[in-house]
């Protein structure tokens, strides 16, 4: 267990990070991600209110669907990345633990009359991820297996109401299950009793999301990083790209037209040593051209993998760079993300 943002997080279980990682890629893994911030946005103007703070076509989100969005500041920097689901009578938000307090205060300050944010500190969040997740969950909630990718439904498991979305942070097919905290332990035990399922900690979640090329807020995303630099412009949404009516839209639009100062890339270092956040990225002449923001050892590919930001001339696939590890340059090359193909249901 390690402390993080006021929570004690399970980093690994007795199986260890590599076994838990493989469990998720080959079968199904259960993660406790209850530290994530959850809230409901009530009122007919909820989507319009959120669109004043975040990009993405949130007003166009149909009931039963979820979308990835970014809260941006006036400079176009990312305040947080979040999931927004339309539950019909309300929007349901899942934000990062470290940003939850500031996100919710920021949203509340922008609400118009008739719209209300309800925080859910009393709700737990479990993630069931892996190629056998649907098979395991269907035994308990048959309708869950019929959810499309990024679909959301209020279902019941053993008479317990569970808000289930087909989404996750591993690159695998899977589900996130939001339940009342008091129902979380029995639900977790029931899921773990399925033959396909074993527990996995936040250590495996990090190596899985890195293989999937997914950015982690606080490492690969922050308030000084724009969606253009991060390669997340797909999240802006077509309608919002016509209106340019979200915070920082001018900067983001300018970067789309004229190019951003840096870009997020995948990096494959030579050798076996993991290269982690904070390591300088050098060009062939030894000039600093960027910084590693996340890195680990990939259990699936059995090599070190990293992501970071480099100046655009160095962002093309196969560009040869060096990573300054403990005073020694380690050769590396730029590779497309993800490191391991996504296997979402479509």
């Amino acid at each position: 267990m390690v402390p993080f943002a006021g929570w004690n997080l399970p980093v690994q279980y007795p199986a260890g990070i590599i076994a838990e990682h493989r469990q998720c890629r080959e079968r199904a893994a259960l993660f406790d991600v209850s530290h994530m911030g959850q809230a409901s946005l009530h009122g007919a103007g909820g989507a319009a209110a959120l669109e004043r703070l975040a990009l993405g076509d949130l007003a166009g989100l149909r009931p039963g669907r979820q979308r990835y969005s970014l809260l941006t500041n006036a400079r176009g920097g990312v305040l947080d990345d979040l999931m927004v689901a339309n539950l019909g009578d309300r929007l349901f938000l899942v934000v990062n633990a470290s940003q939850a307090d500031s996100d919710f205060a920021h949203i509340e300050a922008a609400l118009s009359a008739g719209v209300r944010l309800e925080r859910h500190p009393d709700r737990a969040l479990l993630a069931l991820q892996g190629p056998l997740a649907a098979q395991a969950l269907a035994r308990l909630a048959p309708d869950a297996a019929g959810l499309p990718f990024m679909g959301v439904a209020d279902l019941r498991i053993a008479d317990t109401p569970v808000l289930i979305s087909r989404s996750g942070y591993t690159g695998e097919d899977g589900f996130e299950l939001s339940v009342a905290a008091s129902d979380a332990e029995p639900l977790a035990k029931l899921l773990l009793a399925q033959p396909e399922v074993a527990p996995a900690g936040l250590g495996a979640r990090d190596s899985l999301r890195l293989e999937a090329g997914l950015p982690l807020y606080g490492h690969d995303l922050d308030e000084y990083t724009t969606p253009v630099e991060a390669g997340l412009t797909w999240a802006i949404g077509k309608r919002r790209r016509m209106a340019w009516d979200f915070p920082g839209a001018d900067t983001i639009r300018d970067q789309l037209v004229n190019g951003p100062p840096r870009l997020r890339v995948g990096l494959l270092p030579d050798g076996r040593a993991p290269v982690r956040a904070g390591v300088a990225i050098l060009d062939g002449d030894g000039n600093a051209v960027g910084l590693v923001t996340s890195g680990t050892f990939s259990p699936t590919r059995d090599v070190p993998i990293a992501m970071g930001y480099v100046r655009p001339p160095f962002a093309a696939d196969d560009t040869k760079l060096a990573l300054m590890l403990r005073g020694k340059p380690v050769p590396a090359r730029v590779v497309p993300l993800p490191f391991v193909p996504h296997r979402y249901v479509r």
Binding site: G16, I17, R272
Partner: protein, 125 residues
């Protein structure tokens, strides 16, 4: 007859015929988790006691290894380059890190004995 001592940084030191072999304890490997890379010192290097001289990397983090004794490195465990998980499987045996000739053999006796190290673990250090 070899003797074993320990450090507060969870290393073990075994002295055989004037040469010290150094590795990390079972407690340390369990705390680190799956080890994926070990960076070891070059033979011939002179190290001071407490000097950073190796790095052990698990999936989640890198940890520095400090030389428990001053001396000259005589050998590093080449087997760890191909199979760093040896440290997890056999931390006190095949998973050793490096060997050195201590500058002051008496410094070995000042390290923790088995009972003192067991007490340190029991305290949760």
């Amino acid at each position: 007859m070899s003797q074993i001592r320990y450090t507060r940084d969870h290393e073990w030191v075994r002295l055989d015929a004037g040469v010290a072999t150094i590795g990390i304890t079972d407690h340390a490997q369990a705390a680190l988790g799956d080890i994926v890379f070990v960076d070891l010192p070059e033979p011939g290097r002179e190290v001071a006691a407490g000097e950073e001289c190796a790095v052990v990397e698990s999936v989640k983090a890198a940890s520095d290894i400090f030389s428990p004794l001053a001396g000259k490195i005589t050998e590093s465990n080449a087997a760890l380059a191909d199979d760093p998980a040896l440290v997890n499987r056999d931390p006190a045996g095949e998973g050793w890190f490096f060997r050195l000739e201590p500058a002051d053999p008496a410094a070995f006796d000042a390290l923790l004995d088995e009972a003192a190290y067991a007490a340190l673990i029991a305290e949760g250090a």
